[in-house]
Structures are given as C-alpha cells and as structure tokens.
Symmetry: C2
Subunit: 378 residues, 2 copies
Amino acid sequence: MSADELRRARAYLLRVAEPPAPALVAFVAEHGPIDAAGRVRCGDCPPEVLKVTEARREYDLVSQDFARAAEAGARLVVPEDDEWPAWPLLALEQAARRGVAEAVPPLALWVSGEVTLGTAADRAVAVVGARAATEYGEHHAAEFAYGLAGRNVPVFSGAAYGIDGAAHRGALAADGVTVAVLGCAVDAGYPAGHVGLLNRIVRSGGAVVSEYPPGTPPARHRFLVRNRLIAALTEGTLVVEAGRRSGARNTASTAGALGKVVMALPGPVSSGMSVGCHQLIRDARATLVSTVDEVLETVGRFGIAEDPARPKRPTDRLGAEALRAYEALAVRADRSDAEIAAESGLPLRKVRALLPALEIDGFAVRGEAGWRRRKESA
Amino acid sequence: MSADELRRARAYLLRVAEPPAPALVAFVAEHGPIDAAGRVRCGDCPPEVLKVTEARREYDLVSQDFARAAEAGARLVVPEDDEWPAWPLLALEQAARRGVAEAVPPLALWVSGEVTLGTAADRAVAVVGARAATEYGEHHAAEFAYGLAGRNVPVFSGAAYGIDGAAHRGALAADGVTVAVLGCAVDAGYPAGHVGLLNRIVRSGGAVVSEYPPGTPPARHRFLVRNRLIAALTEGTLVVEAGRRSGARNTASTAGALGKVVMALPGPVSSGMSVGCHQLIRDARATLVSTVDEVLETVGRFGIAEDPARPKRPTDRLGAEALRAYEALAVRADRSDAEIAAESGLPLRKVRALLPALEIDGFAVRGEAGWRRRKESA
C-alpha cells in the first residue's frame, strides 16, 4: 500500500462517520484503513458500521479535504506515522477495553503547526476551564501555563474563551509549546475572537489539532467529543475554574476514566466558578494543586519538580538510553543523528526518538548540522 | 469518698503537674484521684510521677483555686460528673493506646458557663484558624459558625484573635452555643481584647473551658496542649485559614491522630493564609468543605445535612430511647423529668441525660415547669 493511499483512506474514514464512531474504529482495526475504506465506500460492511457511514459513504471529498488542509497549512497525521501520539492515546484503547464508552481512539488527526505531535503529547498537561471565567481564573490559568511551558511542558487546551485562551496565551508568553485541540475543523475560524491566537500558536512552534475534516463547523456535541482528545493527549488535566456543570468537568471526568491525572485549582468558596473545582477535590476525583511545582509533582514522571528527593545532577533523571544518547552529544559541535547512533551504540530509530525528548527536557539543542549538548545541562 | 474530697483531689492534681502529664494521669487511673493526690503530696509515687510533681507537690492552693474560680463564676467538672464529656474524650484514651504521644486526657476541667459540657461536646464542631487571618477567612469563619450554631451544632474554638474570634462571634450571632477552650486559666483575662467576647460566650449559654488552674497565664506551649482538647472535645475540626506553620494545623493534625474528622476551607491560591488549608487538602489530611451542608455531611452522624438519604420525619433519626422520651413529652404542657420517666418507662437518670440532647436537636424545649415537645419537630 502506498503512503498516499493510506492517508487518503484515513481522510475518507474521518469524514464518513461523525466521531466517535466505535463500530467504524473497530472495523478499521480489523481490516486496515485501506481495505476498510474500500468496503465502507461500497456498503460492504456490518450493519452497525453501515448505519453510521450510510449518510456520507458516497461523498468523495478526499482530494478537496487535502487541498483545503494544505491551504490552511494543515497536514493529516495518521497512526502509521512516527509522530502519532501512540503512547498517550493507548489510554483510550485500554479504557475502551474496561468498558469506558467515550474511549474511542481517533482515526487520524488534522494538524496545523510544525510540532512533532507525539513528542509534545508525551509530556503534556492540559489546562482547561470555564468560558465564563473570572479574573482570578484567567490570571492563574495564564500563570500555570506560563510556568509549565517555561519548564518545557507543552500546554494543551481547547482554544475557547476564558480559561482555555488564557492558558494558551500564558504558554506563548513563555515561548513554550502549546496545542489547541478543537471541536471543529482547524480551518473553521472558530472561535472568531481567537483566530489570531490560533495563528500565533501555529507560528510559535505549537499546533492546532482536530479530528474533524476541513470545513467542519463547531457544534456542542463536538466539544464534548473533543474533550476526550484533550484528556487523552496529555499526562494530566488541570481544571482551573469550573461552574457546577462546566464542560471542563467533563474533560476532567474523561481524564479520570482514562486513568490520567486530574488536578483542580481551589479558589474562593464564594466564587461560583470554583464550585466545580471544589467538588472535584472534595469527591477525591481531582488533586488540589496551588503551584506549578505541585502540578509537576502530581503528574509525577517528569521529575522536574523541586522536591527533597530531587537528584543532584539534572542527568540523574534520564533513563539509561536517554543518558547514552545525551553522552554521545558534543557541547561545541553539532552531530548528526547517525553519528550519535554510532557513538552511543543505539539504533538510529531510537536516537531519532530520543533527541526531540532530550530537547524538550532541556538537554539537547538542534543546530544547523545536527544536535549538540545544551551547555546548562552539563 | 465525699464528692467534695474528690473534687479537691482533682483540683490539686490539675495544679501539681503541667499538663499533659501522662505519668500522672496513669497514676491517677491506677489509684483513683484521692489516693493518688495523697501519695503525690507526700512524694510516695514512682520516679516518673515524682519527677513531674516535685516542684509543686507541696503547694496547698486548692481552697484558693476554688475561691478564685467561684469569683470568676467557674466550676470544676471532673470525670466522675454526669456532664463529663466522656464520649468525645474517649478518643484521647484510644489514641494513647495506639501510641499517640499528645493523647493525654485532662484530669478535670475548669468551666465557666452554664452549658452541660458533655452534651455540647457530643455534637460539636471546632472552627479554628490563624490569628493573622484575612478578611476572607474571618468572613467565612463567622458564616460557618453562624450556620452550624443555627442548626444546633455547638461551635468550639480557642478564643484567639482572627479566625477563632470570628467563629465565636458567628455562633453568638445565631444565638447558638459556643465554647472557648483556653491555653490559660478561665480568669486570666486573655486575650485582653477578647475579655468582652469571653463574657458574652458565658452569658449566652456557652462556656469557657480550661485545664489550667485559676491564675495560670498564657504560654506558647499551653496553646499547643490546649489544641488537643479542642480536637478531642469535638466531632470534627474545620480549619478556615492557616499559614504554612499555623497552630491551627497542629489542631488539625491532632484531630486526625485522634480519629476525628478534619476539614479545611479552600481559598485563593494567592493567599498565604490558605496555604496551610490547601496543603491539608492536597495531602488528604483534610476534606475540602465549602458550605455548612458539606461540614454536616462530612461530620456525618448528625443526620442534619440535606442529603438524598435523609429520613422523612425528623424523629426518624432519634435512637429508640430518645424517641420514647420524646413521645412522653406533651406539646402544650410542661412535664417534669419524673413525669417523663414515668410516662416513658425510662430510668430517671436516662431521661435527664436525654432531655438536653433532645433540646439541642430541636425536639424539646425547657419551660417553667419542666419540658415540652417543640412544635416544629412534630
């Protein structure tokens, strides 16, 4: 199968049924995307797949989708790609096996922006909250995002007004990586007041992500479906402000169902916008966090948080292979990935996976002719 | 032994060693207060008891203590009294058996005020917090105390400036029962700015309580020792505001060690006075509460909180004997305790114990000639 054919098949499948489409996802897993797309197109599929694909199965919009995506600077990232966030999304498959209804993996993702999606998602935190946020909430959303992004933790959010927007802006202010996951197409221009923000996110090395084909308008149910992706693509979700029935609580409960870390910011008990956070904490569905260090400590595995058990040298927290790759880097000269593989004795593919992670962790920098050790890390 | 002799022995024992004096308490438990006091007086006791009593064992200030107490309107409540808060203090004995160092029961308590101490303590909540409280903290301390006292939950606190004072004032505003437990004598006039408040507490049917003999001045270590009594005398402790190293956190940790409920109020993360509360919640040492209903729900056994499992009739939550006593009450005429005993078939002593509890729960009112059923309770 050609890479192009595969990508076209997945683009077709993304449009043929409204996500999440568990029956279709299972059908694709069974037959592979190309075969599955062919069968769906001619109606040769089980009744439950036919049911969700019938309305759109004869649409032939794949070429148009790619053309519109290219115009919007977006590409299709598919599970067969190296940058596919397989590890974080594994939680969806595991939760689906435990019977969590909303845990349906995406069939592919439209991505605008140059970030390597899988690398960003491997160590990201979602910062989410109410649209009708207070000054208190927006202030702290921006502060937490700033602090996280400043420590090389990508900040994911939903680009909505209120907390989401403040989180993206905070991460941008720290020159960090931030990713907006949308409940509409990446080219839908929504929310209208955040088009400039979305462009800035893309230009600053972040990404705008959606499983909806180009042109898909926003819809209430799409935000809920999108929320599972925010939860799935991150290590943990921080709810900054949420009313009694906020969508952010939906993201939090999905994150919990996926086995991800759920955190909430406390606030004044007199604030209606902190009620949802307080309920999550009170019911032990979220851990209270009041500082960036506590977020890092709660999410755990970064090992970046200041705590008494913190290792003496920064490199102490690297895994064995990452340390070997790190030690193969030079401080004053760029080395190619092949040179680093030869020097470290690690497979080239492994080196290519480790280098961006070392970069995010602040151990390596990318230069003109390859990679070098970051001075401050030694 | 005469009641007077017993009371004098306990007054002597309260003064002869600085509380908490675990060796002395054990010695009294073994020999009884009169015998123990006699032996301590002539130095006929084990070395560990001698050590803590040596400095003061020859003092003969018992008559003076009673005279000064009478002058201050205080009485000595001893474990042999019916009103001794035996049930809540049981937690101290149990914790001592589990090896909790600070869990030393008081040998007696000086009490100013007409409240039946045991009845008040059986269903009380402590509302405590920092002296250097913020407006936010004082406001909510008063609001929670008002709400609790208004639902017949006595509010215990430490009479300090800041949160404690606001809690007492809130309970007074609701015409409720509030009890101040001091780290100095009940007649020490401390804190100076709260002498008026302490007088109001006593006059309004509450109490001022201390294990320190009349004339004992306040001292830092006495506040810590006192904190264990606040924790022990209540069902649960609510920390309203606490800095990183607040005494209120000490009360909370003692309450936790005693197996009592520990609650904390969240606040703005930017407030240094909420840091202690947030840490308690984050470490799962306290349950977050943001409303009076949540306090009642957390403390649990009152059955006053609005929840789906709430019984249909108020009397559904009365125990069998309490219900018999309640049913022996008339709505339009006072009945004496003897009449109620005859009517209900319960022992007089039991009736006398049940009536004040029924009053606190809002089922009975005390009239000129005895007790009657409270109309709203029927």
